[in-house]
Symmetry: C4
């Protein structure tokens, strides 16, 4: 957010980064599905590859655009920073969401081009039902709590590793496959494979993700209290530390 | 322990953290069991997801409540700190254990809600016999030795990664599945699945865990000697360094 | 590149390092193929072992020769440094490529000696078609973008871990198996096994790798802009930092 | 080596540490073998658990005894330090080897006690033939090269992670299973299971390990040159840095 890159370059980074993320998720799913019939082995490979890809992209694109690659993350940053100006403005947030969504679709099509289908098809993978939506709420709440928590305890530099590890686990412990990303969810409607989602299942999933994001923000407030001080440097008084946006941004790439 | 959070917030953190931990363990077990019939693949997925979840929770909740999430860990801290006041007091320790236990049950029910059963059932997974109890003693002794050892060598900042890695391995090298956590053990009585334990097996497992915890403390004394100096800052004389509780608490989140 | 080692020692390091890399890739493939018929499990083991081997070799050989172990990486360094003298000269680059190629063949033969065939054979594993070549372009572009990006954001010290993680994921998300290394590709023509490639498939793969490398350089320019200042210390003005070659070289081993 | 612990405590640490290491290796092998018939899945679980166990033990026992847990490592340190007194003396080295060997046998028996056999049995797992011995030479040479290399490039603090990762990979890329540890090899003669080795195969394996250790020392000399200066502080002139033993010892636990 606070990098010196131009708005166009930032949006390009979010677009390319989200494209790469979805290409990794969909591509590794296609690869796994053609190599084994054991669905758990497929998911092991898919979850490890997806987690690694996400972690590297956050590290690499963080200093350019923040490496958010996810509308829920962008909206959380917008919400948390709406008072003190530390987050993106409304227009910048919308540009990010648009770039992420376009990138996600492009990434799905790239994976399809590498692994098999020339023509564009819709996914037929239905993902409906209360249990799956609950899973998606849990997955997204956990993601937002993690990111907010790292900021509140002053450890945003761990974000690439921590978010990657979180996704690898969440794919397993939630019933929904832990999409937790509205843009990637849209992109995954363009692959009729293991990791796809039918267009009819999109509204429920995206609504669950937004609800989960709000719940994650609420949980962070319960656990860490309200951030104090609205000065951007975070040097205000009070028991809760708040990392300044600049240091958080640059720190995001100090992976370890 | 020595964070500035209020006692209520600390207990809330232990409750929420232990709930999340058990939801990860039970949820990933339910997911794995429905995806493959190969039990080793199930355990691979379950052990990796559980380890990651535990590591992230220790990192994220450490600065609030210590991120103990385990009555054996709380009791060890109480025992080691009973003289110099570095650990929790008796009342605080009991509050932690209660919060952890309630959280563990809630976490198991959340996993069941995501994956399948609406009604609450008891586990029918019997876990009895000397070999399993020996496994549980070994698992818990290793866990306590690890945590004490990291403190004694001044490396508590490695706790999230080291404890996570330990659990991933201990699930494999012990015969009992390495529960090593009385609260989580109680919680796991509420899922009739891969990772459950029947109520009748609880007393043996919990007794073995307590015995293992004591053995871990003894092993640490053999290997590292008695800590010297009872001043909280750990600056006393002698060959054995002792990290001060404050630095240990804050260090717990410097994951790498 | 800028280490004080003699040119002969540098070339020896590149030769031994690439030999070890290919021995790890081919050997772990041979091992996996004889232990299971599930191709996805084979690839899980092969990708994890290959990634670890690559990461350790970059860390260990980086301070001697730069730990490039890959002609595309050497050529990228030559291209980027041709103006300011920060990269290898043309002669040094050619010596590296030759050493890498000889080492790769030796490594494949060592793996064959450990696992099975006394006589030298050509691979019969055909790898042709547009989809695979597209996969190889993607794999190599991502690798070069990663390495350039780490330099541009001042995090070359993460190279061993990041490059290793990238390869583990790329083996899964690309359709080609992510060779992404012309020298290793030549070496893998000398094993008729899981990880081999028939001599007839070499030209296409190597061309795709070179094209991918160029695309990676272009992507890095889009995302990070042109490096400013041609002074070797990288202390020139402008928004884009550029790590000095010396610090990048020595930093390459500070794995975390 | 240069820790302030008494010789008895050091030997106890090596004994307990090697016992724990072998219990992890053998125990995880027994667990895996009873959960699946897919040998590659068995080896995946066994290699990951063994690597994690080794890494944690090096980190935890390093500050007490050096965390060598392996006669080849002890003998290498003795050889390299015989002139400048930086390594263990001959008597100390022999005490370490004895403690490691006794510990290894105890660890194997502990694993058997947890998983199955009350009585002590010999392994019937024959491991003979030139190919396996070549694999064991390669595995041990790589291990010694790695440890020496980390010292020469001043990165001994990476030893726990790097050695663990190395073993996880070497189990896959060598034909012998990468025992690479004479004490553990003796211990593994006491389990008739997946990870065992018949007594008749011991002499060949141990000879190959010693030869591999010598080859690793030779490779390190080729790549890094002779260490300069025989003063223990390593502050002598010349291009090759040499980490002082004290800093290496304490650094060994700064895992990341």
């Amino acid at each position: 957010m606070h990098s010196s890159a131009s708005p166009v370059r930032k949006a390009a980074a979010e677009l390319i980064g989200t494209a790469a993320l979805v290409a990794v998720v969909v591509g590794s799913g296609l690869q796994a599905a053609r190599l084994t019939e054991d669905t758990a082995v497929q998911l092991l490979a898919n979850s490890l590859a997806s987690a690694i890809g996400l972690g590297l992209l956050i590290a690499l694109f963080g200093p350019v655009s923040g490496g958010q690659l996810n509308p829920v993350v962008t909206l959380s940053a917008w919400w948390l920073g709406r008072r003190d100006g530390s987050g993106p403005g409304t227009r910048e947030a919308l540009a990010y969401v648009a770039a992420q969504t376009v990138g996600a679709v492009a990434g799905a099509l790239l994976a399809e081009a590498m692994f098999g289908r020339a023509e564009v098809v819709w996914s037929t993978q239905e993902r409906i039902g209360d249990r799956l939506l609950l899973g998606e709420v849990v997955a997204t709440a956990g993601l937002v709590l993690l990111i907010c928590g790292l900021t509140r305890i002053g450890r945003t530099q761990l974000a690439p590793v921590a978010v990657a590890a979180y996704i690898a686990a969440a794919i397993w412990f939630t019933s929904s496959g832990s999409f937790a990303n509205p843009a990637a969810t849209v992109g995954r409607a363009f692959t009729d494979s293991f990791t796809g989602i039918s267009p009819g299942s999109l509204p429920g999933f995206i609504a669950a993700q937004l609800a989960g994001g709000a719940m994650g923000l609420a949980l962070a407030a319960v656990l860490y209290g309200k951030p104090v001080g609205r000065d951007a440097s975070g040097s205000g008084p009070g028991q809760d530390r708040r990392v300044s946006p600049e240091s958080a941004d640059t720190a995001a790439v100090r992976m370890r």
